[in-house]
């Protein structure tokens, strides 16, 4: 059985990959046809027109600069939100008192609209880099707290008891017993978080930063340059997809390897 499994897995994997590529090609074809069907090509430029704008932005150096800046902001806000969110989430999940006292705070935090946090941060801290990143992290952190809390609540007590009897050092308990159990929650928080973070970063940039993809989109909006908007969107979506495919998904697979044996 293990032999047939080993042979079947790469084949199934190849097939999934093929379907994924085909579906992407269909998407671009559909986009091209739709744009050709619309009388005014400026309203919806096709993928080729969009790519050619992206290419020229790349040649001018604009594209890499703005995408790079936005990526830095996404990284900073993402890491901040993950570190604080995981720590607070574990506290919520392990200490019933904290959970009882502050659960309603979390509900409030989860329901404050992103736009409100952004505007307030800009008002309170000025149109600064710190305000921008703080606003994004504050939007993202409550979700991380909520997801991590669920993981921390369902920690296996019996393993913690075992570690207690054997007096396993605290750090080793966290590293070898607690964190691996939280890994699925943390990965779920990371994967949903990455998409959310970059969307909010764009709004933050659009409202109050002099650079980044969001800033460029506002500029293109002012000129009614839809090809430019689509070009930046396309490139940034590709970057996020690459991060998801090349970093997060392999990491997830590595962390859950023991489940498959």
């Amino acid at each position: 059985m293990t032999v047939s499994n080993g042979a079947a897995q790469p084949a199934a994997h190849r097939q999934r990959l093929l379907f994924r590529c085909l579906s992407l090609i269909v998407f671009f074809l559909f986009w091209q046809i739709l744009s050709a069907a619309i009388a005014d090509p400026a309203m919806l430029p096709g993928p080729l027109a969009t790519l050619s704008v992206a290419w020229s932005e790349l040649l001018h150096g604009e594209l890499l600069y703005h995408v790079g800046i936005t990526l830095l902001r996404v990284t900073a806000a993402f890491c901040g939100a993950m570190i604080v969110g995981v720590a607070v989430g574990i506290t919520f999940g392990r200490l019933a008192l904290v959970d009882d006292l502050f659960d309603s705070w979390l509900v409030i935090a989860l329901n404050v609209p992103a736009l409100v946090t952004i505007v307030l941060c800009y008002v309170w801290f000025g149109l600064s880099e710190v305000a921008a990143i703080l606003a994004v992290a504050l939007n993202k952190a409550p979700t991380v707290v909520a997801i991590t809390r669920e993981g921390a609540r369902s920690l296996d007590r019996s393993l913690l008891e075992m570690a207690a009897v054997f007096r396993v050092p605290r750090l080793r308990v966290i590293r070898r017993i607690v964190l691996p159990q939280l890994a699925p929650s943390i990965m779920a928080a990371a994967r949903t978080g990455l998409a959310l973070t970059w969307k909010i970063v764009l709004v933050v940039e659009l409202l109050g930063r002099p650079d980044g993809v969001g800033f460029q989109i506002r500029r293109f909006f002012n000129y009614f340059d839809i090809a430019g908007i689509l070009a930046y969107t396309l490139v940034f979506v590709a970057v996020i997809l690459a991060i998801e495919t090349l970093i997060l998904r392999p990491l997830d697979r590595e962390l859950s390897r023991w489940r498959k044996v």
Partner: protein, 266 residues
């Protein structure tokens, strides 16, 4: 290595320990509830260095509860747990379930409670529990009986002063159970740790122990405290065991109802 058998300072002492649960298994808030169940009413126990104590009694007598109190996993409603030697002795425990960490290999599970310097010893112990070839397996790849043997090896790895065993040889096939009893007996004779083993199997208790305690479920305390020759502990043959089992049954007939057939056929 062998500790002095004349030492009179107990490693651990329980005085008048009581513990009750309500029907749901949770600690009751008030003593007035009618549904609550008194598990332990007044336990006095001295664990001397180097003795192998078996704790027997029918199901629900509070054997596991007592083990958890000693391990510090539960707190008593009343009474004290003392360390007359002034330092808390090191402990290891084999739980009723193996409690292995599923994402760590068998070897990593052992080294989790020790450290990397014990790797050679860990491998030797795995070989002794007949799992030498499974060091790199994950617990999920092993059968229930194999997992229990890993748990036993893990407990022996740290060379604890007090070894707590909760039905360590349950659910093993008879031949394997016999070999594991041999292993446990030999280990005890060589290292003389203090062992407290919970079992409902009188034959196991008779073969391995230097002292046997019987816990009565209706009274919630010991009704039996039989000392046996420590030199023979772990080495007794079927005939010796049969004599001890019969003796235990004559003193504590309540055991007959709950005991597995294995001791009776010898």
């Amino acid at each position: 290595m062998a500790q002095s058998m004349t030492a009179s300072v107990p490693l651990l002492r329980l005085r008048d320990v009581a513990r009750r649960f309500d029907v749901a298994g949770k600690r009751s808030a008030t003593a007035a509830k009618t549904a609550e169940k008194q598990v332990l009413t007044g336990i006095d126990l001295d664990l001397q260095p180097g003795e192998f104590v078996s704790l027997i009694g029918p199901s629900g007598a509070g054997k596991t509860t007592l083990l958890r109190l000693i391990a510090g996993l539960d707190t008593a409603d009343r009474g004290e747990r003392l360390y007359p030697g002034d330092v808390a002795p090191s402990m290891a425990m084999v739980f009723q379930e193996p409690r292995l960490v599923p994402w760590l290999t068998v070897l990593e599970n052992l080294l989790l409670v020790g450290d990397a310097t014990l790797e050679d010893r860990a491998r030797r112990l795995l070989a002794e529990v007949e799992l030498g070839g499974n060091a790199q397996s994950y617990p999920g790849q092993l059968s229930g009986g194999m997992q229990r043997r890993v748990a036993l090896a893990r407990a022996l790895l740290v060379e604890p002063q007090i070894l707590l065993l909760d039905e360590p040889l349950g659910s093993l096939d008879p031949a394997l159970e016999n070999r594991m009893m041999q292993l446990l007996g030999d280990y005890w004779q060589r290292h003389r740790p203090t062992v407290l083993m919970v079992t409902h199997d009188l034959h196991q208790a008779a073969r391995l122990s230097s002292r046997i305690l019987g816990l009565d479920p209706s009274l919630g305390r010991f009704v039996l405290n039989e000392t046996l020759d420590p030199a023979q502990a772990g080495q007794r043959d079927e005939a010796d065991c049969k004599v001890i089992v019969d003796h235990l049954l004559s003193l504590f007939p309540a055991l007959a109802a709950d005991s597995p057939a294995s001791w009776g056929q010898g």
